[in-house]
């Protein structure tokens, strides 16, 4: 299993659940990497759900080991894409064609779920009506609060901003609008005093 129990934190930090089948006219499922396992669990719980499901899957380093099992779940449409960014036009198109009654299921890394949730809420679905389940890496999508640049897949705290080079402290303070956690300069008051990076949740 690829599940991780996040310790309790501030209210800003997103909390993820377990995907459960919900009644709906159509189902949009977006997952990356081990998030596929959550979709497969969903398929096991309610195989009929997949008859009206559009599955968008980004393997993200997991190779093709989830492709066959996802095909076997027999979704109406299965799209395996190279990256989240490359799947955005498809997600937007699906949402623009959708009607009320569409259910959205997101699974995998926090970065994927946050960004896909942004698309779904921008299309008019209340964020609290979108199901999420975290699977796989605990890496974070971070926004540097100083230069506003986004660094994907941050695994250590502190880390170096990929845009401005400042060393940033990884906060649990989350922005739904940016789908990113906030990174704050760790040595602003005492330049050069930078603690050794520690892997997140290690």
């Amino acid at each position: 299993m690829s599940t991780f129990r996040f310790p309790p934190s501030i209210t800003s930090r997103p909390v993820y659940g377990t995907l459960a089948p919900r009644p709906g006219k159509a189902h949009l499922m977006i997952a990356d990497a081990e998030g596929a396992e959550a979709l497969l669990d969903l398929a096991a719980a309610d195989p009929e759900l997949f008859a009206n499901a559009h599955v968008i899957f980004i393997p993200k380093g997991t190779g093709d080991r989830f492709t066959e099992p996802l095909k076997a779940a027999n979704p109406s449409i299965l799209h395996v894409g190279p990256s989240y960014a490359a799947s955005v036009p498809r997600i937007r198109r699906v949402l623009s064609d959708a009607h009320m009654g569409l259910q959205v299921y997101l699974a995998g890394t926090e970065g994927l779920m946050g960004q896909a949730m942004n698309e779904a809420t921008a299309a008019g679905i209340p964020h609290s009506a979108i199901q999420t389940e975290h699977r796989g890496s605990v890496a974070r999508r971070m926004q540097c609060v100083h230069c506003k640049g986004i660094t994907e897949d941050v695994m250590t705290d502190p880390f170096v901003c990929a845009h401005c080079g400042l060393t940033l402290f990884v906060r649990d303070h989350y922005s739904r609008r940016h789908a990113a956690f906030q990174g704050v300069c760790i040595d602003a008051e005492d330049p050069g005093n930078i603690p050794d990076p520690v892997e997140l949740y290690s």
Partner: protein, 321 residues
């Protein structure tokens, strides 16, 4: 204590009988000043001095929310009710002074919606009249589906269909016309919110059908004012105030508490807003819960009651009030 229920002295400046059941009342400030603006879906609580009984009934404001010169409400006569609507219909005359509350909105538009789908039954049309005027200003997208008994009882049908011929759909029961709800809800674009105001059965129908079709409950809005129903008289002890009050057959627990001079909190007086929630200290008997507010666990615990609409049958009831 009565949060948000600051009062306004008004004068009735116009009364228009719309049809056999519905009459419209216009209120202007008695001091000549301006009324507060409000948001579509808001109601006001109208005080009626009815031969020693103070009646406080909520009515949806139906005038333009930005019009500060006057408020209008439409009152449907309920011959079987406890008398508030009959008082309005039979006793209120142009020029009368009355007291109304500041507007309170428990049925506001969710302005994040891409489209507003409104479903009205009978007198449930009133909050939508204000909401539509609000959306006119915002160029908001809406569609109204309005079911009424007959053309003769179709309040505001002419005005609505003349002003919004493409957005208003009217259904007459006596012509066997009915809203095809399943189809209506199935075809709505993502980001639509549905609003329903009407009889209890209609609200339940819309809530159940939308849930079965996968509509998120955050996108389903409803308003139903429950009128307090009569019941057996009972006695209540108010522990904080140190007094015992008899609740009569035709008054609500909240009204009895107010009659005893206690300033208890309230907003909607219709079991919806939660403002009057009161802790029960002791009870020996059965609660008659009629509100939309309490969760099942609260009811089962016997520790909470909504005095605006709920009653009690039994020997002892002690409230933390």
């Amino acid at each position: 204590m009565s949060a948000g229920t600051e009062k306004i002295d008004v004068t009735v400046t116009d009364i228009v009988k719309l049809n056999d059941l519905v009459t419209r009342f216009k209120f202007e400030r008695s001091d000549g000043g301006q009324l507060p603006t409000f948001s579509g879906g808001a109601h006001t609580v109208v005080e009626m001095q009815d031969d020693g009984i103070t009646r406080l009934n909520p009515y949806s404001l139906m005038s333009d929310p930005m019009d500060q010169s006057a408020y209008t409400i439409s009152v449907r006569r309920d011959d079987e009710g406890r008398g508030g609507s009959l008082f309005m219909h039979n006793r209120v005359k142009t020029g009368d002074r009355m007291v109304i509350s500041y507007p309170v909105n428990l049925f506001s538009l969710d302005l994040r919606a891409r489209k507003h789908l409104m479903i009205a039954g009978g007198i449930g049309i009133t909050p939508f009249l204000a909401q539509i005027k609000q959306l006119d200003r915002l160029s908001g997208r809406f569609e109204l589906h309005y079911a009424c008994r007959s053309a003769a009882l179709g309040s505001y049908v002419d005005e609505l269909t003349a002003n919004h011929p493409n957005a208003v759909h009217v259904y007459y029961d006596d012509q066997k016309q009915a809203i095809d709800l399943q189809r209506l809800l199935t075809g709505q674009p993502l980001g639509t919110h549905v609003y329903v105001c009407g009889p209890k059965g209609m609200i339940e129908w819309v809530r159940k059908t939308s849930a079965a079709l996968g509509w998120p409950e955050e996108a389903v809005h409803y308003e139903e004012f429950l009128a307090p129903q009569s019941g057996k008289p009972f006695q209540v002890r108010l522990a904080k105030s140190g007094i015992t009050v008899d609740v009569g057959e035709h008054e609500s627990l909240l009204e009895a508490i107010e009659r005893a001079g206690i300033d208890a909190p309230y907003l909607c007086r219709g079991g919806a807003c939660g403002q009057c929630e009161t802790d029960v200290i002791e009870s020996d008997g059965t609660f008659v819960h009629r509100d939309h507010w309490l969760e099942d666990e609260d009811r089962a615990s016997g520790c909470k009651i909504m005095p605006c609409v709920s009653r009690f049958e039994g020997r002892t009831l002690v409230l933390d009030r």
